[in-house]
């Protein structure tokens, strides 16, 4: 019985179907706002869904000389990872006492799976552009993980070293949200920058780089696997801001009017993402690495030290 409930949770409510629906809507908002920023009209609301359905109905081509098993399983790894993250986050968000010890560390690990799936898929597809994109993605993961973990250390330190998402939510419900403090707001800025890189959006879209690598790791993908990659990206656009909301802004309360307040937090983060994306040029991979290991890490360390002093 418990097993069946978990499977249903994975497939329908906090898991796959729910995250996919909100993620596709969010990626429409992303495209529409981008279009409006550029004085264009932009696509209709069902556009991301139409893209996915179309890709599922198309032929899947297999590049010659690629590793077949890895080529087809790589997209699924990322999809499973992001679904699981969304499920853990929402279950903790709905019932803060329901998590397990160390679930925030599990979420941190699972959030690297979409990037890992891009790397594996890129190297499996036997294409020089894909390999180049995959190696850039690998460097990008190395560069943003350090400041991201440091930024997440701030809410953990503030809540007294509790390693559960539910514990951090309970602390914020009792003592005010983490971003309200000085160290918390510094950590949120760092986390937003890392989120931009995790989502693979401008200025950190070095691995996909439409204009120089023609899609990077996903260049050889077509049909169903490409749809899975696009869906993973859309779902990540919902899950990553949700993670930051849970860690820094006290989560989304689903009772009555406070749900609107929660939606407002998400939309605010989404708009920040879209505006950063639309007002910046693409960085080179060495510039991105220097940026993350230099200024951003220094900022994150300052945040952690301030949090240790209780600011």
């Amino acid at each position: 019985m418990k097993m069946a409930v978990s499977v249903l949770q994975f497939l329908i409510f906090p898991g796959f179907l729910f995250t996919a629906a909100i993620g596709l809507l969010a990626s429409w908002i992303d495209r529409k706002v981008t279009a409006r920023v550029q004085y264009r009209v932009g696509p209709p609301w069902y556009q991301p869904l139409a893209d996915i359905v179309k890709l599922l109905g198309k032929e899947t081509l297999m590049p010659a000389g690629s590793s077949q098993l890895l080529f087809f399983t790589a997209p699924l790894i990322g999809l499973a990872g992001v679904t699981l993250v969304s499920m853990i986050l929402w279950l903790s968000n709905l019932d803060p006492a329901g998590g397990f010890i160390g679930d925030i560390i599990v979420v941190l690990y699972l959030l690297t799976l979409p990037a890992l799936s891009l790397i594996l898929g890129g190297f499996a597809s036997n294409n020089s552009y894909a390999s180049l994109g995959a190696s850039r993605e690998m460097k990008l993961v190395l560069s943003y993980e350090l400041p991201f973990i440091l930024a997440l250390a701030v809410p953990i330190i503030k809540s007294g070293g509790i390693l559960t998402i539910g514990g951090i939510l309970n602390y914020q419900a009792a003592n005010g949200i983490v971003v309200g403090s000085f160290s918390g707001s510094i950590a949120l800025i760092v986390a937003i920058l890392c989120m931009q890189a995790k989502l693979g959006l401008v200025p950190f879209d070095v691995s996909e780089a439409e204009t120089e690598l023609m899609g990077g790791p996903i260049i050889e993908y077509s049909g169903g696997p490409l749809a899975v990659f696009k869906l993973t990206k859309a779902m990540l656009l919902f899950t990553m801001p949700m993670f930051l909301i849970v860690a820094f802004m006290g989560g989304i309360s689903v009772s009555g009017l406070s749900l609107l307040w929660g939606i407002l937090k998400y939309v605010a983060l989404l708009v920040v993402i879209v505006l950063i994306r639309n007002t910046n040029p693409r960085l080179r991979i060495d510039q991105a690495l220097r940026f993350f290991w230099g200024r951003v890490t220094v900022l994150a360390v300052i945040g952690v030290v301030l949090a240790l002093f209780g600011l």
Binding site: V41, P43, I218
Partner: protein, 141 residues
């Protein structure tokens, strides 16, 4: 109408292939993405990889060097997909019909199954949009 074709006509991703064109048609095609014409409102995007594409948009006279490449590109496009020929050159070679560098027996529609021709030298962006809308309507029936 099947869901597959309906979704395809709602989200055409275009791969743009120039086969020895004078670049006028290519500039008119890029005009389609600008705020004035904005084809993204029909779900049309320009993609960089032929494996993501649903439409092979061909411009130019198709000279002998480009012919095998065009065939290869069409084979690499996942089906179902469309081929659109933009410009007078692609449809009937125009003023280049007697040059030595084209294979006179094989214009584009002998090499690939062309779904829509958009004549003009170069065709206006409005004409290209009109052609695509007509193609979508014809295929969506």
């Amino acid at each position: 109408m099947s869901v597959k074709i309906k979704a395809l006509t709602k989200s055409l991703w275009v791969f743009h292939l120039s086969t020895a064109s004078c670049n006028n048609c290519d500039i008119e095609i890029l005009d389609l993405l600008t705020p004035r014409h904005d084809v993204e409102r029909f779900g049309i995007l320009l993609v960089g990889s032929i494996r993501h594409a649903d439409v092979l948009l061909v411009t130019g006279i198709l000279n002998k060097q480009c012919k095998p490449i065009v065939k290869k590109m069409y084979d690499q496009m996942p089906k179902p997909g469309f081929v659109i020929a933009v410009g007078t050159c692609t449809a009937g070679r125009g003023m280049f019909s007697n040059t030595y560098m084209v294979d006179e027996a094989e214009p584009l529609d002998k090499v690939l199954p062309v779904d829509a021709y958009i004549p003009g030298c170069p065709p206006k962006p409005e004409a290209i949009i009109d052609g695509i809308v007509k193609l979508v309507k014809a295929k969506g029936k």
